[in-house]
């Protein structure tokens, strides 16, 4: 059969194509321990809404769902009064797993990412852990390209400050 342009791919193909970048994003957002649960919740929510999805930009669409799941996850953890993603864990995952796109020497910075406010953290992770362009970061965050760029820059500024503090402390 000739494939119809802009038809939704079978959900399995969509899942196979995007699961690893969504997982990388969630590792940055909630830490490696909870990322897999969030991944499952994300794709289950995606499956529920899938017939109404816009075939044009499925990656931004699923990352939007993942970002909401990560926020829900933080809220429920806050209610249980347990600490938000342990920076040391994130750092360990970032060093162990090249798929998050950061090497050993960046692990301290990566740990500082976990300390950023949620919007900046999401923007930084989308931009650097899965290499999205600013337009795509905006699409996944439901904001303009400019707002996405600002969030990334604000986030990076804070990260540079943490890096400088680290250097001083060392």
């Amino acid at each position: 059969m000739t494939s119809v342009p802009h038809a939704l791919p079978p959900f399995q193909a969509f899942l196979d194509e995007h699961a690893s970048s969504v997982l990388a994003f969630l590792r940055g957002m909630v830490g490696p321990q909870d990322a897999e649960d969030c991944l499952q919740d994300t794709f289950l929510a995606a499956l529920r809404a899938y017939p109404r999805a816009e075939p044009g930009n499925l990656r931004a669409w699923v990352l939007t769902i993942a970002r909401r799941k990560a926020i829900d996850h933080h809220r429920s953890r806050a209610r249980r009064a347990t600490p938000v993603a342990d920076p040391a864990e994130v750092a360990r995952a970032a060093t162990e797993d090249r798929s998050v796109g950061m090497g050993q020497r960046d692990s301290a910075i990566w740990a500082a990412v976990a300390e950023l406010p949620p919007a900046q953290r999401a923007a930084v992770v989308l931009r650097f852990a899965i290499d999205l362009r600013y337009r795509e970061v905006g699409e996944a965050m439901g904001c303009s390209e400019d707002a996405a760029r600002r969030s990334v820059h604000e986030g990076l500024k804070k990260l540079r400050m943490s890096a400088a503090e680290l250097k001083e402390a060392a």
Binding site: S3, V4, F11
Partner: protein, 184 residues
């Protein structure tokens, strides 16, 4: 991540979100695919079809909620394995007919589903059983579009002259199946 995603399919099925589950099958002539809705077996794809095309057609024709989930197809896979191993002559599976055109085409296929192991009939016979004795060409088209080959045994329909005729799964597969059943 694999077990994680297997759990996803099971959870999806629990919540009634798994519109089409599919699994790969091994046939003596290569890898095929089987797919089922909540109502029953809806598609058998033989090795001469590309899995990607089959899944895209299921997505467009039934629902894009298509996931690999062999659990729903355990019984179909077992019965097909037994059939190919020569240990089964009849299938006992619930069928979902939605991919066949209602009307004459579906009547031809339902009549074909009643042909027994090792028995053959002609295109004219099938047209007559579907209520239009002269429509043997249309009967051929109906059989050519059979979405559930083997289980709906269109390979048992042959030309009146003794030639085995066409087959959606390819002529080698048709010959293989007729030989397996001792009909050639």
């Amino acid at each position: 991540m694999t077990t994680l995603l297997e759990n996803l399919a099971a959870r999806a099925a629990d919540e009634g979100l798994l519109d089409v589950a599919y699994a790969r099958i091994e046939t003596p002539l290569g890898e095929g695919l089987v797919a089922a809705t909540k109502s029953g077996l809806v598609r058998v794809a033989l090795p001469n079809e590309r899995a990607e095309d089959v899944l895209e057609a299921l997505s467009a024709g039934i629902s894009p909620r298509v996931l690999e989930w062999p659990a729903r197809l355990d019984e179909a896979r077992r019965e097909l394995d037994e059939y190919f191993a020569g240990r089964r002559e009849e299938f006992d599976l619930r069928l979902d007919w939605r991919l066949s055109h209602p009307g004459f085409y579906r009547r031809v296929l339902r009549a074909t589903a009643r042909l027994h192991f090792g028995e053959t009939a002609t295109y004219g016979d099938m047209a007559a059983r579907a209520g239009s004795p002269r429509a043997f060409r249309a009967a051929g088209s109906a059989l050519g579009s059979n979405p559930i080959p083997i289980v709906v045994p269109c390979h048992r329909v042959v030309r009146s002259g003794g030639d085995i005729g066409n087959y959606g799964g390819g002529p080698e597969m048709k010959r293989f199946l007729l030989e397996l059943e001792g009909a050639l």
